[in-house]
Protein backbone atom coordinates (compact mmCIF):
# COMPACT_ATOMS: atom_id res chain seq x y z
CA UNK A 1 0.00 0.00 0.00
CA UNK A 2 1.32 3.38 -0.93
CA UNK A 3 2.15 5.73 1.90
CA UNK A 4 -0.39 8.57 2.02
CA UNK A 5 1.08 12.01 1.35
CA UNK A 6 -0.55 13.63 4.34
CA UNK A 7 -2.62 11.81 6.88
CA UNK A 8 -4.23 13.65 9.79
CA UNK A 9 -5.79 11.46 12.45
CA UNK A 10 -7.85 12.40 15.49
CA UNK A 11 -6.11 15.74 15.83
CA UNK A 12 -7.32 17.62 18.91
CA UNK A 13 -6.26 20.92 20.45
CA UNK A 14 -7.96 22.82 23.25
CA UNK A 15 -7.31 26.28 24.54
CA UNK A 16 -8.60 26.14 28.09
CA UNK A 17 -12.16 24.89 27.78
CA UNK A 18 -12.45 25.66 24.09
CA UNK A 19 -11.84 22.80 21.71
CA UNK A 20 -10.36 24.69 18.79
CA UNK A 21 -9.66 21.56 16.77
CA UNK A 22 -11.66 18.53 17.73
CA UNK A 23 -10.91 15.04 16.47
CA UNK A 24 -10.16 16.02 12.87
CA UNK A 25 -9.38 13.36 10.30
CA UNK A 26 -8.43 13.90 6.69
CA UNK A 27 -6.07 12.72 4.01
CA UNK A 28 -4.38 14.39 1.11
CA UNK A 29 -2.86 13.11 -2.08
CA UNK A 30 0.25 14.47 -3.70
CA UNK A 31 -0.29 17.65 -5.75
CA UNK A 32 -3.82 18.02 -4.48
CA UNK A 33 -5.21 21.45 -3.66
CA UNK A 34 -7.53 21.41 -0.69
CA UNK A 35 -9.61 24.37 0.39
CA UNK A 36 -10.20 24.69 4.10
CA UNK A 37 -13.24 26.78 4.90
CA UNK A 38 -15.49 27.43 7.82
CA UNK A 39 -17.04 30.28 9.77
CA UNK A 40 -14.86 32.52 11.90
CA UNK A 41 -13.39 30.73 14.87
CA UNK A 42 -13.86 27.31 13.32
CA UNK A 43 -10.24 26.36 13.98
CA UNK A 44 -8.83 26.68 10.49
CA UNK A 45 -5.75 28.66 11.45
CA UNK A 46 -5.23 26.49 14.51
CA UNK A 47 -5.28 23.41 12.30
CA UNK A 48 -2.62 24.88 10.02
CA UNK A 49 -0.50 25.83 13.00
CA UNK A 50 -0.75 22.30 14.32
CA UNK A 51 0.45 20.99 10.96
CA UNK A 52 3.53 23.23 11.02
CA UNK A 53 4.37 22.51 14.63
CA UNK A 54 3.90 26.09 15.79
CA UNK A 55 1.27 24.74 18.17
CA UNK A 56 1.46 21.35 19.84
CA UNK A 57 -1.74 19.27 19.73
CA UNK A 58 -3.23 17.57 22.78
CA UNK A 59 -3.61 14.32 20.91
CA UNK A 60 -3.74 12.87 17.44
CA UNK A 61 -1.20 12.25 14.74
CA UNK A 62 -0.09 13.88 11.52
CA UNK A 63 1.90 11.81 9.06
CA UNK A 64 3.62 13.61 6.26
CA UNK A 65 4.96 11.19 3.64
CA UNK A 66 4.65 8.47 6.24
CA UNK A 67 6.62 10.37 8.85
CA UNK A 68 5.09 11.42 12.15
CA UNK A 69 5.58 15.17 12.38
CA UNK A 70 3.80 15.81 15.66
CA UNK A 71 6.42 16.74 18.23
CA UNK A 72 8.97 17.85 15.66
CA UNK A 73 10.35 21.37 15.72
CA UNK A 74 8.85 23.86 13.30
CA UNK A 75 12.08 24.26 11.35
CA UNK A 76 12.45 20.50 10.94
CA UNK A 77 8.91 20.28 9.57
CA UNK A 78 9.63 23.13 7.17
CA UNK A 79 12.81 21.40 6.05
CA UNK A 80 10.78 18.25 5.41
CA UNK A 81 8.80 20.29 2.92
CA UNK A 82 5.85 21.90 4.67
CA UNK A 83 5.77 25.67 4.29
CA UNK A 84 3.18 28.03 5.64
CA UNK A 85 2.14 31.64 5.43
CA UNK A 86 0.69 33.64 8.28
CA UNK A 87 -2.79 35.09 8.22
CA UNK A 88 -1.68 38.21 10.06
CA UNK A 89 1.41 38.82 8.00
CA UNK A 90 4.64 38.57 9.94
CA UNK A 91 7.38 40.14 7.84
CA UNK A 92 10.72 41.25 9.27
CA UNK A 93 9.65 44.86 9.16
CA UNK A 94 12.94 46.62 9.45
CA UNK A 95 14.66 44.45 6.85
CA UNK A 96 14.54 44.97 3.10
CA UNK A 97 12.09 42.73 1.31
CA UNK A 98 14.82 40.73 -0.34
CA UNK A 99 16.35 39.97 3.05
CA UNK A 100 12.95 38.69 4.19
CA UNK A 101 13.04 36.09 1.45
CA UNK A 102 16.75 35.37 1.84
CA UNK A 103 16.05 33.97 5.30
CA UNK A 104 13.92 31.26 3.69
CA UNK A 105 16.55 30.70 1.01
CA UNK A 106 19.11 30.11 3.77
CA UNK A 107 17.14 27.22 5.26
CA UNK A 108 18.85 23.84 4.92
CA UNK A 109 16.12 22.60 2.57
CA UNK A 110 16.63 25.45 0.14
CA UNK A 111 20.42 25.26 0.40
CA UNK A 112 20.83 21.56 -0.24
CA UNK A 113 19.70 21.61 -3.84
CA UNK A 114 23.03 21.95 -5.57
CA UNK A 115 25.76 24.52 -5.67
CA UNK A 116 24.16 26.96 -8.04
CA UNK A 117 21.18 27.79 -5.85
CA UNK A 118 23.58 29.02 -3.19
CA UNK A 119 23.60 32.42 -4.80
CA UNK A 120 21.03 33.28 -2.20
CA UNK A 121 20.38 36.82 -3.34
CA UNK A 122 19.58 35.73 -6.89
CA UNK A 123 17.29 33.00 -5.71
CA UNK A 124 15.47 35.33 -3.34
CA UNK A 125 15.05 37.71 -6.25
CA UNK A 126 13.50 34.94 -8.32
CA UNK A 127 11.06 34.18 -5.52
CA UNK A 128 10.09 37.86 -5.44
CA UNK A 129 9.77 37.86 -9.20
CA UNK A 130 7.42 34.92 -8.91
CA UNK A 131 5.29 36.72 -6.34
CA UNK A 132 5.36 39.88 -8.42
CA UNK A 133 7.09 42.27 -6.01
CA UNK A 134 10.64 42.16 -7.35
CA UNK A 135 10.58 45.84 -8.28
CA UNK A 136 10.37 46.70 -4.58
CA UNK A 137 13.11 44.30 -3.49
CA UNK A 138 15.17 46.93 -1.68
CA UNK A 139 12.34 48.70 0.12
CA UNK A 140 11.90 48.07 3.82
CA UNK A 141 9.11 45.60 4.52
CA UNK A 142 7.39 48.15 6.76
CA UNK A 143 6.60 50.30 3.72
CA UNK A 144 4.59 47.59 1.94
CA UNK A 145 0.85 47.60 1.47
CA UNK A 146 -1.35 44.78 2.74
CA UNK A 147 -1.54 43.14 -0.65
CA UNK A 148 2.21 43.25 -1.15
CA UNK A 149 2.75 41.83 2.32
CA UNK A 150 0.55 38.89 1.34
CA UNK A 151 2.68 38.36 -1.71
CA UNK A 152 5.80 38.63 0.41
CA UNK A 153 4.40 35.91 2.66
CA UNK A 154 3.85 33.71 -0.38
CA UNK A 155 7.33 34.46 -1.74
CA UNK A 156 8.83 33.55 1.61
CA UNK A 157 6.97 30.24 1.78
CA UNK A 158 7.70 29.37 -1.85
CA UNK A 159 11.41 30.09 -1.40
CA UNK A 160 11.76 26.97 0.77
CA UNK A 161 10.50 24.94 -2.22
CA UNK A 162 7.82 23.07 -0.28
CA UNK A 163 5.99 19.85 -1.13
CA UNK A 164 3.03 20.98 0.92
CA UNK A 165 2.14 24.64 1.03
CA UNK A 166 -0.25 25.92 3.68
CA UNK A 167 -1.72 29.26 2.68
CA UNK A 168 -3.65 31.13 5.35
CA UNK A 169 -6.02 33.54 3.63
CA UNK A 170 -3.83 34.34 0.63
CA UNK A 171 -6.54 36.64 -0.77
CA UNK A 172 -7.30 38.41 2.50
CA UNK A 173 -7.22 42.17 2.07
CA UNK A 174 -6.44 42.02 -1.64
CA UNK A 175 -8.29 44.00 -4.28
CA UNK A 176 -10.12 42.00 -6.98
CA UNK A 177 -7.29 42.58 -9.47
CA UNK A 178 -4.67 41.53 -6.92
CA UNK A 179 -6.75 38.50 -6.04
CA UNK A 180 -6.74 37.42 -9.67
CA UNK A 181 -2.99 37.85 -9.83
CA UNK A 182 -2.50 35.84 -6.67
CA UNK A 183 -4.79 33.08 -7.94
CA UNK A 184 -2.79 33.01 -11.14
CA UNK A 185 0.48 32.73 -9.21
CA UNK A 186 -0.90 29.87 -7.18
CA UNK A 187 -2.01 28.01 -10.29
CA UNK A 188 1.33 28.64 -11.94
CA UNK A 189 3.13 27.32 -8.89
CA UNK A 190 0.94 24.25 -8.80
CA UNK A 191 1.67 23.47 -12.42
CA UNK A 192 5.33 23.31 -11.46
CA UNK A 193 8.45 24.17 -13.34
CA UNK A 194 11.27 26.61 -12.98
CA UNK A 195 10.97 30.22 -11.97
CA UNK A 196 14.53 31.31 -12.49
CA UNK A 197 16.56 29.55 -9.83
CA UNK A 198 13.40 28.63 -7.99
CA UNK A 199 12.17 25.13 -8.61
CA UNK A 200 8.62 23.96 -8.12
CA UNK A 201 7.47 20.39 -8.38
CA UNK A 202 3.86 21.40 -8.03
CA UNK A 203 3.29 21.31 -4.29
CA UNK A 204 0.09 20.11 -2.67
CA UNK A 205 -1.69 22.97 -1.00
CA UNK A 206 -4.13 23.65 1.78
CA UNK A 207 -5.74 27.03 1.31
CA UNK A 208 -7.74 28.70 4.05
CA UNK A 209 -9.91 31.36 2.50
CA UNK A 210 -13.11 33.29 2.95
CA UNK A 211 -13.41 34.47 -0.64
CA UNK A 212 -15.16 31.30 -1.71
CA UNK A 213 -15.79 32.29 -5.31
CA UNK A 214 -12.09 32.60 -6.00
CA UNK A 215 -11.27 29.56 -3.94
CA UNK A 216 -13.68 27.28 -5.79
CA UNK A 217 -11.88 27.96 -9.05
CA UNK A 218 -8.55 26.73 -7.71
CA UNK A 219 -9.24 23.81 -5.43
CA UNK A 220 -9.84 20.12 -6.14
CA UNK A 221 -11.53 19.40 -2.84
CA UNK A 222 -12.93 21.31 0.08
CA UNK A 223 -12.93 20.57 3.78
CA UNK A 224 -15.37 22.44 5.98
CA UNK A 225 -14.65 22.98 9.66
CA UNK A 226 -17.16 24.20 12.20
CA UNK A 227 -16.43 24.57 15.93
CA UNK A 228 -13.26 22.59 15.43
CA UNK A 229 -14.96 19.53 13.97
CA UNK A 230 -15.02 18.30 10.42
CA UNK A 231 -18.40 19.29 9.02
CA UNK A 232 -18.17 18.23 5.40
CA UNK A 233 -15.69 17.13 2.80
CA UNK A 234 -15.98 16.87 -0.95
CA UNK A 235 -15.71 18.60 -4.30
CA UNK A 236 -16.67 22.28 -4.42
CA UNK A 237 -20.11 21.48 -5.89
CA UNK A 238 -20.90 18.90 -3.24
CA UNK A 239 -19.88 21.21 -0.44
CA UNK A 240 -21.80 24.22 -1.73
CA UNK A 241 -24.97 22.16 -1.92
CA UNK A 242 -24.50 20.47 1.41
CA UNK A 243 -27.32 21.67 3.71
CA UNK A 244 -25.17 21.36 6.82
CA UNK A 245 -22.59 23.71 5.37
CA UNK A 246 -25.23 26.24 4.42
CA UNK A 247 -26.62 26.01 7.91
CA UNK A 248 -23.22 26.58 9.48
CA UNK A 249 -22.60 29.62 7.35
CA UNK A 250 -26.03 31.20 7.28
CA UNK A 251 -27.76 29.75 10.33
CA UNK A 252 -30.83 27.54 10.57
CA UNK A 253 -33.14 27.83 7.59
CA UNK A 254 -30.62 29.91 5.66
CA UNK A 255 -30.75 27.52 2.73
CA UNK A 256 -34.41 28.08 1.97
Amino acid sequence: MAVPFLEVEALTKSFGGLRAVDNVHFRMEQKEIVGLIGPNGAGKTTLLRLLTGILKPDSGSVRFKGKQIIGMKTWDIVNLGVACTFQNMRPFRRLPIIANVMVSCLSPRAMKRGEWVKVVEAKAMDALEFAGISDMALEKASTLSQGDLKRLEVARAVATEPDLLLLDEPFGGLSPAETDLMAKSIRRLHKGGRFGRLHSEGPAMIIVEHKLQQLMKIVDRIIVLNFGTLLAEGTPEEVVNNPRVIEAYLGQGGGQ
Binding site: T52, I54, K73, T74, W75, V78, N79, A83, C84, F86, R90, P91, F92, R93, R94, L95, P96, A99, N100, M102, V103, S104, L106, S107, P108, R109, A110, V120, L138, R156, A159, T160
Partner: protein, 346 residues
Protein backbone atom coordinates in the same frame (compact mmCIF):
# COMPACT_ATOMS: atom_id res chain seq x y z
CA UNK B 1 59.69 51.46 -9.90
CA UNK B 2 57.26 51.42 -12.78
CA UNK B 3 55.34 48.67 -11.08
CA UNK B 4 55.13 50.53 -7.81
CA UNK B 5 53.74 53.54 -9.62
CA UNK B 6 51.15 51.37 -11.32
CA UNK B 7 49.94 49.84 -8.07
CA UNK B 8 49.98 53.19 -6.33
CA UNK B 9 47.77 54.62 -9.03
CA UNK B 10 45.47 51.65 -8.86
CA UNK B 11 45.27 51.93 -5.08
CA UNK B 12 44.40 55.59 -5.46
CA UNK B 13 41.65 54.78 -7.97
CA UNK B 14 40.11 52.24 -5.63
CA UNK B 15 40.32 54.60 -2.67
CA UNK B 16 38.73 57.39 -4.68
CA UNK B 17 35.95 55.18 -6.00
CA UNK B 18 35.14 53.27 -2.84
CA UNK B 19 36.17 55.36 0.15
CA UNK B 20 36.20 59.00 -0.78
CA UNK B 21 32.65 58.94 -2.19
CA UNK B 22 30.98 58.66 1.19
CA UNK B 23 31.71 60.77 4.26
CA UNK B 24 31.02 57.87 6.61
CA UNK B 25 33.69 55.80 4.90
CA UNK B 26 36.12 58.70 5.07
CA UNK B 27 35.43 58.95 8.79
CA UNK B 28 36.12 55.24 9.26
CA UNK B 29 39.34 55.49 7.25
CA UNK B 30 40.42 58.53 9.27
CA UNK B 31 39.59 56.66 12.47
CA UNK B 32 41.92 53.82 11.46
CA UNK B 33 44.67 56.20 10.39
CA UNK B 34 44.46 58.39 13.49
CA UNK B 35 44.45 55.43 15.87
CA UNK B 36 47.40 53.76 14.15
CA UNK B 37 49.33 57.02 13.80
CA UNK B 38 48.64 58.52 17.21
CA UNK B 39 51.98 57.49 18.81
CA UNK B 40 53.81 59.40 16.09
CA UNK B 41 52.22 62.59 17.36
CA UNK B 42 52.13 62.05 21.09
CA UNK B 43 53.46 59.40 23.41
CA UNK B 44 51.89 60.83 26.51
CA UNK B 45 51.42 57.74 28.74
CA UNK B 46 48.10 58.99 30.06
CA UNK B 47 46.69 59.49 26.58
CA UNK B 48 47.97 56.10 25.47
CA UNK B 49 46.42 54.49 28.52
CA UNK B 50 43.04 56.09 27.84
CA UNK B 51 43.06 54.95 24.22
CA UNK B 52 44.00 51.41 25.21
CA UNK B 53 41.18 51.18 27.75
CA UNK B 54 38.78 52.72 25.25
CA UNK B 55 39.77 50.09 22.70
CA UNK B 56 39.17 47.29 25.18
CA UNK B 57 35.72 48.59 26.06
CA UNK B 58 34.92 49.20 22.40
CA UNK B 59 35.33 45.45 21.80
CA UNK B 60 33.05 44.79 24.76
CA UNK B 61 30.34 47.19 23.59
CA UNK B 62 30.46 45.83 20.05
CA UNK B 63 30.16 42.27 21.34
CA UNK B 64 27.04 43.24 23.29
CA UNK B 65 25.62 44.73 20.13
CA UNK B 66 26.34 41.50 18.26
CA UNK B 67 24.12 39.62 20.71
CA UNK B 68 21.49 42.08 21.88
CA UNK B 69 21.38 44.63 19.11
CA UNK B 70 21.21 42.06 16.34
CA UNK B 71 19.32 39.07 17.70
CA UNK B 72 17.33 41.14 20.21
CA UNK B 73 18.26 38.82 23.09
CA UNK B 74 18.50 41.57 25.71
CA UNK B 75 21.52 40.69 27.82
CA UNK B 76 21.83 42.81 30.94
CA UNK B 77 24.59 40.65 32.32
CA UNK B 78 27.26 41.15 29.74
CA UNK B 79 29.83 41.67 32.49
CA UNK B 80 29.68 37.91 32.97
CA UNK B 81 31.59 37.26 29.75
CA UNK B 82 34.00 40.10 30.51
CA UNK B 83 34.61 38.80 34.01
CA UNK B 84 34.95 35.16 32.95
CA UNK B 85 37.51 36.16 30.32
CA UNK B 86 39.40 38.31 32.82
CA UNK B 87 39.38 35.80 35.68
CA UNK B 88 40.21 32.79 33.51
CA UNK B 89 43.23 34.35 31.89
CA UNK B 90 44.31 35.81 35.23
CA UNK B 91 44.05 32.46 37.01
CA UNK B 92 45.92 30.73 34.21
CA UNK B 93 48.61 33.38 34.34
CA UNK B 94 49.07 33.34 38.13
CA UNK B 95 48.61 29.67 38.96
CA UNK B 96 49.81 27.94 35.81
CA UNK B 97 52.23 30.58 34.53
CA UNK B 98 50.60 30.57 31.12
CA UNK B 99 51.65 33.61 29.14
CA UNK B 100 48.97 36.22 28.39
CA UNK B 101 49.22 35.30 24.71
CA UNK B 102 47.78 31.89 25.56
CA UNK B 103 45.71 33.01 28.51
CA UNK B 104 43.61 35.61 26.72
CA UNK B 105 42.35 33.19 24.02
CA UNK B 106 41.75 30.52 26.68
CA UNK B 107 39.80 33.09 28.67
CA UNK B 108 37.74 33.74 25.55
CA UNK B 109 37.07 30.00 25.23
CA UNK B 110 35.86 29.99 28.82
CA UNK B 111 33.60 32.93 28.00
CA UNK B 112 32.18 30.97 25.05
CA UNK B 113 31.32 28.19 27.48
CA UNK B 114 29.76 30.82 29.74
CA UNK B 115 27.76 31.95 26.72
CA UNK B 116 26.46 28.40 26.29
CA UNK B 117 25.68 28.09 29.99
CA UNK B 118 23.72 31.34 29.93
CA UNK B 119 22.25 30.78 26.50
CA UNK B 120 20.70 27.35 26.98
CA UNK B 121 18.44 28.21 29.94
CA UNK B 122 17.60 31.55 28.35
CA UNK B 123 16.42 30.13 25.03
CA UNK B 124 12.79 30.18 26.04
CA UNK B 125 12.87 33.61 27.64
CA UNK B 126 12.11 36.86 25.90
CA UNK B 127 12.31 40.57 26.60
CA UNK B 128 12.22 41.64 30.23
CA UNK B 129 12.43 38.13 31.63
CA UNK B 130 15.51 37.39 29.59
CA UNK B 131 17.09 40.68 30.68
CA UNK B 132 16.46 39.95 34.37
CA UNK B 133 17.69 36.37 34.12
CA UNK B 134 20.90 37.31 32.35
CA UNK B 135 21.47 40.04 34.93
CA UNK B 136 21.59 37.36 37.63
CA UNK B 137 24.51 35.42 36.17
CA UNK B 138 27.36 37.90 36.87
CA UNK B 139 25.97 38.39 40.38
CA UNK B 140 26.06 34.62 40.92
CA UNK B 141 29.62 34.47 39.66
CA UNK B 142 30.56 37.36 41.92
CA UNK B 143 29.18 35.33 44.84
CA UNK B 144 31.37 32.41 43.81
CA UNK B 145 34.38 34.71 43.55
CA UNK B 146 33.81 35.98 47.08
CA UNK B 147 33.20 32.47 48.35
CA UNK B 148 36.60 31.22 47.15
CA UNK B 149 39.03 33.93 48.27
CA UNK B 150 42.03 31.57 48.19
CA UNK B 151 41.63 30.95 44.51
CA UNK B 152 40.21 34.24 43.28
CA UNK B 153 41.58 36.73 45.77
CA UNK B 154 38.11 37.65 46.96
CA UNK B 155 37.44 41.37 46.98
CA UNK B 156 41.02 42.25 46.13
CA UNK B 157 41.06 40.20 42.97
CA UNK B 158 44.07 38.64 41.33
CA UNK B 159 46.86 41.14 40.95
CA UNK B 160 50.39 41.07 39.62
CA UNK B 161 49.55 39.75 36.18
CA UNK B 162 52.00 40.00 33.33
CA UNK B 163 51.29 42.45 30.56
CA UNK B 164 51.11 41.43 26.94
CA UNK B 165 54.06 43.64 26.19
CA UNK B 166 56.38 45.60 28.42
CA UNK B 167 56.76 48.66 26.21
CA UNK B 168 54.27 51.46 25.98
CA UNK B 169 54.09 51.35 22.20
CA UNK B 170 53.91 47.56 22.11
CA UNK B 171 50.89 47.60 24.40
CA UNK B 172 49.30 50.39 22.43
CA UNK B 173 49.57 48.63 19.10
CA UNK B 174 48.51 45.24 20.47
CA UNK B 175 45.29 46.64 21.89
CA UNK B 176 44.45 49.02 19.08
CA UNK B 177 45.11 46.48 16.35
CA UNK B 178 43.16 43.86 18.31
CA UNK B 179 40.24 46.26 18.60
CA UNK B 180 40.28 47.19 14.92
CA UNK B 181 40.58 43.56 13.82
CA UNK B 182 37.98 42.15 16.18
CA UNK B 183 35.47 44.88 15.42
CA UNK B 184 36.00 44.40 11.70
CA UNK B 185 35.43 40.65 12.15
CA UNK B 186 32.24 41.33 14.11
CA UNK B 187 31.07 43.74 11.46
CA UNK B 188 31.79 41.18 8.75
CA UNK B 189 29.84 38.52 10.66
CA UNK B 190 26.83 40.77 10.92
CA UNK B 191 27.17 41.72 7.27
CA UNK B 192 26.99 38.08 6.18
CA UNK B 193 24.01 35.76 5.73
CA UNK B 194 24.27 34.86 9.40
CA UNK B 195 23.77 38.54 10.16
CA UNK B 196 20.55 38.58 8.16
CA UNK B 197 19.24 35.68 10.21
CA UNK B 198 20.25 37.49 13.42
CA UNK B 199 18.31 40.55 12.27
CA UNK B 200 15.32 38.41 11.37
CA UNK B 201 15.31 36.68 14.77
CA UNK B 202 15.09 40.10 16.40
CA UNK B 203 12.18 41.08 14.19
CA UNK B 204 10.05 37.95 14.45
CA UNK B 205 11.38 34.70 15.78
CA UNK B 206 8.35 32.62 14.91
CA UNK B 207 8.51 33.68 11.29
CA UNK B 208 12.19 32.70 11.15
CA UNK B 209 11.29 29.24 12.43
CA UNK B 210 8.56 28.99 9.83
CA UNK B 211 11.20 29.81 7.22
CA UNK B 212 13.01 26.62 8.15
CA UNK B 213 15.82 28.13 10.19
CA UNK B 214 16.90 26.47 13.42
CA UNK B 215 16.59 29.52 15.64
CA UNK B 216 17.94 27.72 18.71
CA UNK B 217 21.21 27.13 16.94
CA UNK B 218 21.49 30.72 15.77
CA UNK B 219 20.62 32.17 19.17
CA UNK B 220 23.24 30.00 20.83
CA UNK B 221 25.68 30.99 18.11
CA UNK B 222 25.01 34.63 18.93
CA UNK B 223 25.56 33.98 22.64
CA UNK B 224 28.82 32.15 21.92
CA UNK B 225 30.17 34.72 19.46
CA UNK B 226 29.30 37.51 21.84
CA UNK B 227 30.96 35.61 24.67
CA UNK B 228 34.05 35.03 22.56
CA UNK B 229 34.63 38.69 21.81
CA UNK B 230 33.65 39.89 25.28
CA UNK B 231 35.94 37.26 26.78
CA UNK B 232 38.83 38.47 24.64
CA UNK B 233 38.24 42.01 25.80
CA UNK B 234 38.04 40.81 29.42
CA UNK B 235 41.36 39.02 29.08
CA UNK B 236 42.97 42.05 27.50
CA UNK B 237 41.61 44.24 30.29
CA UNK B 238 42.91 41.96 33.03
CA UNK B 239 46.38 41.83 31.56
CA UNK B 240 46.54 45.51 30.79
CA UNK B 241 45.37 46.59 34.25
CA UNK B 242 47.43 43.71 35.70
CA UNK B 243 44.49 42.86 37.93
CA UNK B 244 41.29 40.85 37.58
CA UNK B 245 38.94 41.98 40.29
CA UNK B 246 35.25 41.71 41.09
CA UNK B 247 34.72 45.14 39.53
CA UNK B 248 34.74 43.38 36.14
CA UNK B 249 31.55 41.57 37.19
CA UNK B 250 29.68 44.53 38.61
CA UNK B 251 26.16 45.39 37.53
CA UNK B 252 27.38 48.87 36.61
CA UNK B 253 29.75 47.27 34.11
CA UNK B 254 26.84 45.45 32.45
CA UNK B 255 24.86 48.64 32.27
CA UNK B 256 27.70 50.78 30.96
CA UNK B 257 27.89 48.41 28.01
CA UNK B 258 24.17 48.76 27.38
CA UNK B 259 24.38 52.55 27.63
CA UNK B 260 27.31 52.72 25.22
CA UNK B 261 25.57 50.55 22.67
CA UNK B 262 22.24 52.35 22.86
CA UNK B 263 24.00 55.70 22.74
CA UNK B 264 25.86 54.77 19.57
CA UNK B 265 23.03 53.02 17.79
CA UNK B 266 21.94 49.41 18.02
CA UNK B 267 22.58 46.74 15.42
CA UNK B 268 25.44 48.54 13.71
CA UNK B 269 28.66 47.34 15.50
CA UNK B 270 30.36 50.61 14.57
CA UNK B 271 27.79 52.56 16.61
CA UNK B 272 28.83 51.16 19.98
CA UNK B 273 32.51 51.46 19.01
CA UNK B 274 32.03 55.14 18.20
CA UNK B 275 30.03 55.64 21.38
CA UNK B 276 32.80 54.19 23.53
CA UNK B 277 35.37 56.34 21.78
CA UNK B 278 33.27 59.41 22.58
CA UNK B 279 31.98 58.62 26.05
CA UNK B 280 34.91 56.85 27.67
CA UNK B 281 37.55 59.55 27.05
CA UNK B 282 34.96 62.15 28.01
CA UNK B 283 34.52 60.41 31.35
CA UNK B 284 38.27 60.21 31.81
CA UNK B 285 38.82 63.88 31.08
CA UNK B 286 36.21 65.13 33.53
CA UNK B 287 37.99 63.18 36.22
CA UNK B 288 39.21 66.41 37.83
CA UNK B 289 35.59 67.05 38.71
CA UNK B 290 34.84 63.69 40.26
CA UNK B 291 31.66 64.41 42.16
CA UNK B 292 29.78 65.49 39.05
CA UNK B 293 31.16 62.82 36.77
CA UNK B 294 28.21 60.47 36.81
CA UNK B 295 25.83 63.39 36.56
CA UNK B 296 27.50 64.80 33.46
CA UNK B 297 27.52 61.34 31.93
CA UNK B 298 23.82 60.87 32.62
CA UNK B 299 22.89 64.28 31.24
CA UNK B 300 24.80 63.72 28.01
CA UNK B 301 23.29 60.29 27.46
CA UNK B 302 19.80 61.55 28.24
CA UNK B 303 20.05 64.47 25.86
CA UNK B 304 21.37 62.29 23.06
CA UNK B 305 18.67 59.68 23.54
CA UNK B 306 15.97 62.31 23.74
CA UNK B 307 16.88 63.93 20.45
CA UNK B 308 18.40 60.95 18.65
CA UNK B 309 16.34 57.95 19.73
CA UNK B 310 17.99 55.73 17.14
CA UNK B 311 21.43 56.52 18.49
CA UNK B 312 24.10 59.00 17.65
CA UNK B 313 25.52 57.22 14.64
CA UNK B 314 22.22 56.87 12.81
CA UNK B 315 21.52 60.55 13.39
CA UNK B 316 24.92 61.69 12.13
CA UNK B 317 24.71 59.35 9.19
CA UNK B 318 21.34 60.68 8.13
CA UNK B 319 22.70 64.22 8.35
CA UNK B 320 25.73 63.66 6.14
CA UNK B 321 24.33 61.07 3.76
CA UNK B 322 21.15 60.53 1.80
CA UNK B 323 19.76 57.25 0.58
CA UNK B 324 18.74 57.12 -3.06
CA UNK B 325 15.00 56.44 -3.15
CA UNK B 326 15.39 54.21 -6.20
CA UNK B 327 18.49 52.09 -5.77
CA UNK B 328 19.03 52.52 -1.98
CA UNK B 329 22.69 53.43 -2.49
CA UNK B 330 23.94 56.00 -0.03
CA UNK B 331 25.14 59.38 -1.30
CA UNK B 332 26.74 62.46 0.16
CA UNK B 333 24.03 64.79 1.41
CA UNK B 334 25.27 67.56 -0.90
CA UNK B 335 24.55 65.62 -4.09
CA UNK B 336 21.37 66.24 -6.07
CA UNK B 337 21.42 63.03 -8.07
CA UNK B 338 22.34 59.49 -7.08
CA UNK B 339 25.92 58.61 -7.93
CA UNK B 340 24.93 55.21 -9.35
CA UNK B 341 21.49 55.46 -10.91
CA UNK B 342 21.33 59.27 -11.36
CA UNK B 343 17.84 59.39 -9.85
CA UNK B 344 16.99 62.69 -8.22
CA UNK B 345 17.60 62.78 -4.48
CA UNK B 346 14.98 64.73 -2.60
Amino acid sequence: MVNAGFYLKRFYTIVRGEVLVLPSRIIVALFFIILLGLPLVSQNPYLIRVVILTSIFAILAASWDLLSGFTGQMNFGHALFFGVGAYTSALLNIHLQISPWGGVPLGAVAAVLAGLIVGIPCLRLKGTYLALTTMAFPIILMGIVFALPDLTGGELGISGLRRLSNSLLGNYYIHVVAMLTLCTIMWKITDSHTGIIFHAIREDELAVRASGINTTRYKLLAFCLSGLFAGLSGGLYAHYMRIAGPSTLEVSMSFSVVIWAVFGGLATIYGPVAAVFILFPLLEFVRFWPEYRALIFAVIVLIILLYMPEGLIHWVRDKIEKECPRCKIRNVATRNTCRICTAALD
